[in-house]
């Protein structure tokens, strides 16, 4: 057998992997065709993942913050320590936190969620408490005066009045998480950020940069806009344009 035939017989067969259009091969600014082709397999799943990450972090973060804020509203002395702990959690850079957590909490969503949730705690706790405390003494006195119980005061007076500030806090928390989750993909491979980091070591693939980044921006703006509308719906008496 000749050497070439031996090589052909025993070496691997390298198949043709298909051609790509010239836009992709020359890394054009944005290759619509490639984006559309890969929407279902690449962009859409990552977008949905990103939304899921955000929603879970928000729901859990808000639940914890709300309970803490109610407690601190009743017992003032709780406010400084809770603020301190949540601030501390807030200052641990997300990347370090993720990497430390992997051996402990594993490779699932939990590892990303823990830092995301802890970042929302400070904003949500502070704003919920500020909203509740912002109800003026006169209003409280009036409520007591007409015979409302503490529980009724909370549900019928304080919470509704605190709603604008609470929702404003949720707005900030939402866009913060969307932004953080994008960076978090550096260690936890979920969400749109993963596509951005992948593109960096795929020959700086422009279409992926623009697609993934653009989707994240759209997501943040849509979420923010939705919450603004929600805020206006919930508080018809507070629709005056305020700088937030």
């Amino acid at each position: 057998m000749s050497g070439a035939a031996v090589a052909a017989a025993s070496g691997p067969v390298i198949p043709h992997y298909g051609t790509s259009d010239s836009c992709v091969l020359h890394n054009g600014a944005f290759c619509w065709h490639w984006f559309a082709q890969n929407w279902g397999s690449l962009f859409q799943p990552k977008l949905i993942q990103h939304v899921e990450l955000t929603v879970i972090a928000l729901v859990i973060g808000f639940a914890i913050s709300f309970v803490l804020a109610l407690a601190a509203h009743r017992r003032r002395w709780l406010a400084p320590p809770v603020t301190f702990v949540t601030s501390l959690l807030y200052t641990i850079p997300s990347l370090a936190a993720f990497e430390i957590l992997v051996p402990i909490t594993g490779l699932g969503s939990l590892t990303i969620e823990i830092p995301l949730i802890s970042y929302t705690l400070l904003v949500l706790f502070t704003n919920t408490l500020a909203g509740l405390s912002g109800v003026s003494a006169e209003v409280r006195d009036a409520a007591t005066g007409i015979g409302l119980t503490r529980r009724q005061m909370l549900t019928r007076v304080e919470l509704p009045l605190a709603l604008p500030t609470i929702v404003a806090g949720i707005r900030v928390a939402t866009v913060t998480i969307i932004s953080l989750a994008t960076v978090a993909a550096y260690v936890g491979n979920e969400g749109l950020g993963q596509l951005i980091f992948d593109a960096l070591h795929s020959n700086d693939f422009n279409t992926q940069f623009l697609g993934a980044g653009g989707l994240a921006i759209l997501l943040a703006l849509v979420a923010d806009g939705f919450l603004v509308l929600t805020q206006r719906q919930l508080t018809p008496w507070a629709t005056a344009r305020r700088p937030v």
Binding site: V6, P12, Y17, P103, G106, L200, H201, F205
Partner: protein, 330 residues
């Protein structure tokens, strides 16, 4: 299973063919690429040719396997290649891609989150085992890494023919003009620039090694942003760049990779790192399949796959599947 005498004779002929093949591939595949002669390093195998691939579905009923891979495209390909090959033989494999860098994925391995992942033996040698010296051969790299892993309860299966190590590349024109074949030849070009990521400046497998071990005092380091090395080289901003030897961009033929004759960049064959107990509990076909896949991963094979993923932006799972199908492993 075939009769042992037939297998024995087959084995002898197989061994001769493997040696001849290795020599031929080394000759055909080189053209300035050092690592194509990776076959001259730790032997790919004695007898890992696909005629030994088990038939049927030996994986059915075996315990499930969790495989991981690291955070870059070549690892994604390896993950899909090994997973797909096992799955088509009936194994239950869950792939957890893009776990992170060596440090992170090693923690995932030792803490039981994953059972196996593909790793570069040079990385095990220096990063995970922590040896500070430079290994002198591919075999030493593999053997030392194997000893290290086995002491921890893991085993390296057979390594791939290809190596993916750091390297130095110039444009073809520059190499021709200055008669460059090896990194050492750079000594004679006068002052030249070398571009790479910022951290390269203090690495022994980078600027330090080039200046100290190769004596390239005429080297001027230019920090470049990630992923922009090839662009910078094309634009003439630098004379030479730091590369990885299996980069997809290198398959275009526009560049010349200089031989690392002093092996400052070490040896980097890939081998699946597997929990030792898994090898027995999954049956003999398990290792056979993985070794059969590894044996096919020559330098041109992996480089073409990298090119398809990184340049043509094909989906790595699809590219891996096509390769396996073309080689009777899918």
């Amino acid at each position: 299973m075939k009769a042992s005498t037939q297998k024995g004779r087959r084995g002898a002929i197989g061994a001769c063919l493997v040696v001849a093949m290795a020599a031929t591939l080394a000759a055909c595949g080189s053209s300035g690429n050092k690592s194509s002669s990776g076959a001259s390093g730790a032997k790919t195998s004695s007898g890992a040719n696909t005629s030994n691939l088990p038939s049927g579905q030996p994986g059915k009923g075996k315990p499930p396997i969790t495989m991981g891979d690291k955070n870059f495209e070549e690892e994604y390909l390896l993950g899909y290649l090994y997973t797909d090959a096992l799955q088509s033989k009936g194994y239950t494999v869950t792939l957890k891609p893009n776990i992170g860098s060596s440090e992170i994925i090693d923690k995932a391995l030792t803490s039981g989150q994953i059972d196996m992942y593909p790793e570069y033996d040079g990385v095990i040698y220096q990063v995970i085992a922590g040896h500070t010296d430079n290994p002198i051969s591919a075999k030493q790299t593999y053997d030392t890494s194997q000893k290290f892993e086995q002491a921890r309860g893991f085993t390296l299966l057979q390594p791939t023919p290809f190596q993916d190590a750091d390297g130095v590349a110039t444009t073809h024109a520059y190499a021709t003009q200055h008669h460059l074949k090896t990194i050492a030849d750079l000594k004679g070009v006068g002052p030249f620039t070398y571009g790479g990521p910022p951290e390269n400046a203090t690495r022994l497998q980078g600027v330090l090694g080039l200046q100290q071990d190769y004596g390239l005092t005429n080297l001027k380091f230019v920090p470049l942003t990630a992923g922009s090395q090839y662009q910078a080289l094309d634009a003439g901003q630098v004379n030479s760049i730091a590369i990885f030897t299996t980069d997809g961009q290198l398959s275009t033929g526009k560049y010349a990779v200089l031989d690392d004759t002093k092996h400052i960049f070490g040896f980097q064959q890939v081998a699946p790192v597997v929990k030792t107990s898994l090898i027995s509990s999954e049956g003999p076909a398990f290792a056979q399949i993985l070794n059969a896949v590894s044996a096919k991963l020559t330098f041109p094979a992996i480089q073409q796959m990298n090119s398809a993923v990184v340049i043509a932006h094909q989906d790595p799972a699809t590219v891996a599947k096509k390769f396996l199908d073309a080689n009777g492993l899918g």
